[in-house]
């Protein structure tokens, strides 16, 4: 692209530009989708820590799967839900590389719950980026384990009824009952401040992995305007007003210890 890499004048300071670890290619994500933001933040962290060339990502079924189009590092697909198992295999064979998984709520908290819990419990030195947008995106807006009570989806057309469909699963809290994780944090793409916190959380997680600290999971509450059935702006408001009360933000595990 002609404008994106022009050299700044001596007196210029670049406040923001596309990170080098992000491929110069428009994404397939819907307008206002948080995946783009999450990708961008990961790319920024890879740039900041200068680890792009030693990073291997794992992207499973779902909207997450096409990460290899956008992130300029080695990436493997994984079968639905098996992302932490694939990441485990990679990391154990190449312990000096940086390995992250990039998973949606269906992948991580429904079909892949066993792999999620056991990778965390083994304290695998990997970073799990968990994009929680409360619905299945790619398959057409079905109910996810993290769908809010009363939220309408393709498979809860009258709203999620907790009496027969359960209630939203809080992954950070659940994993925080284990002894092994090193860092667990929930952030939200609910505005510029939230995005800056998400960037910092990812930086903490990847840096910790570089230092061999162990398992980290960053849950990112993220807009899926299409399947939340909202405009991008209202989807961001939904995160603030609907999701955050159900999924409280904060650091749950710091330096291997639960934060109380």
């Amino acid at each position: 692209m002609s404008t994106s890499r022009s050299r700044p004048k001596k007196t210029d300071r670049i406040i923001y530009r596309r990170p080098l670890s992000l491929v110069d290619r428009p994404t397939h994500f819907c307008p206002g989708c948080g995946h783009g933001t999450a990708h961008k933040l990961i790319a920024e962290v890879l740039d900041t820590l200068k680890i792009r060339e030693k990073t291997i990502g794992v992207a499973p079924v779902g909207c997450a799967v096409m990460a290899y189009y956008y992130l300029n590092c080695d990436i493997s697909e994984a079968a639905h839900g098996r992302t932490p198992a694939v990441a485990t295999g990679i990391k154990r064979c190449l312990p000096d590389r940086i390995v992250f998984s990039y998973q949606g709520d269906g992948d991580l908290a429904a079909i892949g719950m066993a792999e999620t819990i056991h990778a965390a419990n083994r304290g695998e030195n990997i970073t799990v980026v968990f994009v929680n947008n409360s619905v299945y995106g790619m398959t057409g807006g079905q109910m996810a384990p993290t769908t809010l009570n009363g939220q309408k989806t393709a498979t809860s057309p009258c709203g999620r009824d907790s009496r027969s469909m359960g209630t939203p699963i809080r992954i950070c809290e659940l994993l925080n009952t284990l002894d092994s994780p090193w860092h667990i944090e929930r952030v939200a793409l609910d505005g510029p401040a939230g995005i800056r916190k998400a960037r910092k959380a990812l930086l903490t997680a990847f840096k910790g992995q570089m230092e061999g600290k162990g398992y980290s999971l960053i849950e990112i509450l993220s807009p899926c305007p299409i399947h939340m059935r909202l405009t991008p702006r209202d989807a961001v408001r939904f995160i603030k007003e609907g999701m955050i009360p159900a999924f409280p933000l904060g650091v749950f595990r710091k330096e291997g210890k639960p934060v109380t």
């Binding site: 692209m1 404008t3 994106s4 700044p8 004048k9 007196t11 210029d12 300071r13 670049i14 406040i15 923001y16 530009r17 596309r18 990170p19 992000l22 428009p26 994404t27 994500f29 819907c30 307008p31 206002g32 989708c33 948080g34 995946h35 783009g36 933001t37 961008k40 505005g191 510029p192 995005i195 800056r196 305007p225 405009t231 991008p232 702006r233 961001v236």
Partner: protein, 77 residues
């Protein structure tokens, strides 16, 4: 005397017109263009660039990494 000015560059091909940048700009610098990009989206443009304070709300918020932000230091006599 030094004066800071800011340049907001929007990559019209990456922009999908979600308006999240517009929603977080404290100085109403941005607006949706009436034009359509090759992928069929209205895209954002900097309508009032001189009002920009370089806060980076827009570039941080943009899910499509379509915004580049620079600060220029202009020396005046």
């Amino acid at each position: 005397m030094k004066a800071r000015t800011y340049t907001v560059r929007i990559d019209r091909n990456r922009c999908k017109g979600c308006e999240l940048c517009i929603s977080v700009c404290p100085r109403q610098v941005l607006e949706l263009s009436g034009e359509i990009n090759p992928r069929g989206y209205h895209f954002t443009r900097a309508a009032n660039p001189s009002s920009c304070i370089g806060c980076a709300n827009c570039s941080d918020m943009c899910p499509d990494t379509a915004i580049e932000l620079r600060e220029e230091m202009n020396r005046h006599a």
